[in-house]
Symmetry: C2
Subunit: 299 residues, 2 copies
């Protein structure tokens, strides 16, 4: 697969994900709640997690309908976490994806509710009724719910956020920083890969390879985030640059230096590629390209 | 079944629910998050929703292990909604279950995260691994996740909260008020009954009877809440009394008057009892007592 084939695949999948989100995040929710939810998740974002779900599903020759719902569910969890993270009691940020944050646009109460409703919606999307045209096996529904809940909760994303909160202004060593990010960002990225893989049936070796791949790119994503936070302008990022330093948060750049962080990102990319090669899997080219995308991105 | 048998059953079940919550809401979550979660859900609350799950499971001769997990999951959703609802951007309340609210005790950011993590934990509890001693069928796991997600999200609780927010200081008629409460409180109470019922295998007639029962007591619960808000002291309620009037929120008392609201509660009790009698179900005595408990409670 060359770059233009990958690019073509990615455009088609991004379009499919956008249509699925449009369908699922309906404006029907009462009293302006639907508007806040749609504002928070539509028309923006790199959609990296949905792409990982869909590419991992292909590597596992899995059920496309299930993977499309899973990709919507992970993106809903990711988007809700951004809405809550931006609120005044957390990072107090006013800019996200180049637009005013949800609480600036709709008020704090509606922003909190929109996030709450989006987390519930993620699990609703994963549990289609048998009568739905794109229904899939209840056992897979349960599996996907379990993977997503564990990645989103106290063992994963929410736990990482709590460590992040507690670490402001406190020095962390590399091990502590890695633990924080493994939970805060890594868990959901890894879960994206595993949810896609769960849509097929992989031997244990293939499953473990994708799990290692997911862990490596999950960490790489955060290392690159920390690098971009100091090397890019807010305009390019679509969010406030230099925020971590301003908040006195420990980052890979503050712990390893800029060069050290860049080396770390390369090491993680290589680890991800090696994991892919070790699993005896076919059709891993798209996952391989996605690992490069994570490390080489500029926003 | 007489009152003392019911009382004995209730005490034993409350004890079982408390132990299950103690087990599930562990203090392991990092950086104080576990403490905030435990503070928000342990040692307090009437545990009405868990009792409804367990009684409905008995009426359906269902799987006790599954129902116990379901009862923990609904209580986690209920408790998280109280934490978020009490925050300054929502009701700004400082007292709950006779204690300072979670954000007063732990700060707003930790309170928001604790609520977020509790919602995720609810779905984690519903999806045990096959290796867990109390595992149950994946198809039932998926069913329970689906029922809970729909009751918690924009069609249910979060949607009702949004209507509640938008209705402050605006007159609602009885129909609008009923729609708000059907979502805000009713959906999760009804889901508690249906999740318990789903743990067994009921014919459609029995399922529909329990669904009607759940809808009636869901609404009755809120009518009684509105009555208690004007007739009881904060000390008895364990939360701030007179809050709705103070916030200029429409209630059943403001719309129907105190006598009208009391009549409405009786009508709903009768509707719940009639539904129970119509379903061809055995073992509905505990559900019948719970309907009385909802209407006759004083706090």
């Amino acid at each position: 697969m060359d770059a233009s084939e990958f690019d073509c695949w990615m455009r088609a999948e991004l379009d499919a994900v956008e249509r699925a989100l449009q369908r699922w995040v309906s404006a029907d929710a009462p009293a302006g709640l639907g508007d806040a939810m749609r504002y928070g998740v539509l028309d923006g974002g790199k959609r990296l997690r949905p792409l990982l779900v869909l590419a991992a599903c292909e590597a596992a020759a899995g059920d496309r309908n299930a993977a499309l719902r899973a990709s919507v569910a992970v993106e809903l969890i990711h988007a809700y976490s951004l809405i809550h993270d931006d609120m005044p009691c957390m990072d107090n940020d006013v800019l996200r994806r180049g637009k005013p944050t949800v609480h600036v646009q709709f008020g704090e109460a509606q922003a909190m509710l929109a996030g709450d409703a989006m987390q519930a919606l993620a699990f609703e999307v994963l549990t289609p009724a048998a009568s739905d045209a794109d229904a899939f096996a209840p056992a897979l529904q349960a599996r996907l719910c379990g993977l997503l809940a564990r990645a989103a909760g106290h063992e994963g994303m929410a736990g990482g956020q709590a460590i992040d909160l507690a670490s402001i202004g406190r020095p962390l060593d590399e091990r502590q920083l890695r633990d924080m990010h493994r939970r805060k960002t890594g868990a959901l990225l890894q879960a994206s890969v595993l949810m896609g893989a769960a849509c097929g049936e992989l031997p244990l070796k293939g499953w473990e390879a994708l799990s290692q791949y997911g862990a490596a790119i999950g960490l790489a994503f955060q290392v690159v985030d920390d690098i971009l936070d100091v090397t890019q302008e807010s305009e390019t990022l679509g969010k406030t640059a230099g925020k971590d330093e301003h908040l006195n948060k420990p980052t890979y750049v503050s712990v390893l230096g800029l060069d050290g962080a860049r080396k770390q990102a390369q090491t993680l990319r290589e680890r991800a590629q090696a994991a892919l090669a070790s699993g005896g899997l076919r059709h891993t080219a798209r996952l391989s390209w996605l690992a490069d995308l994570v490390v080489d991105r500029t926003c």
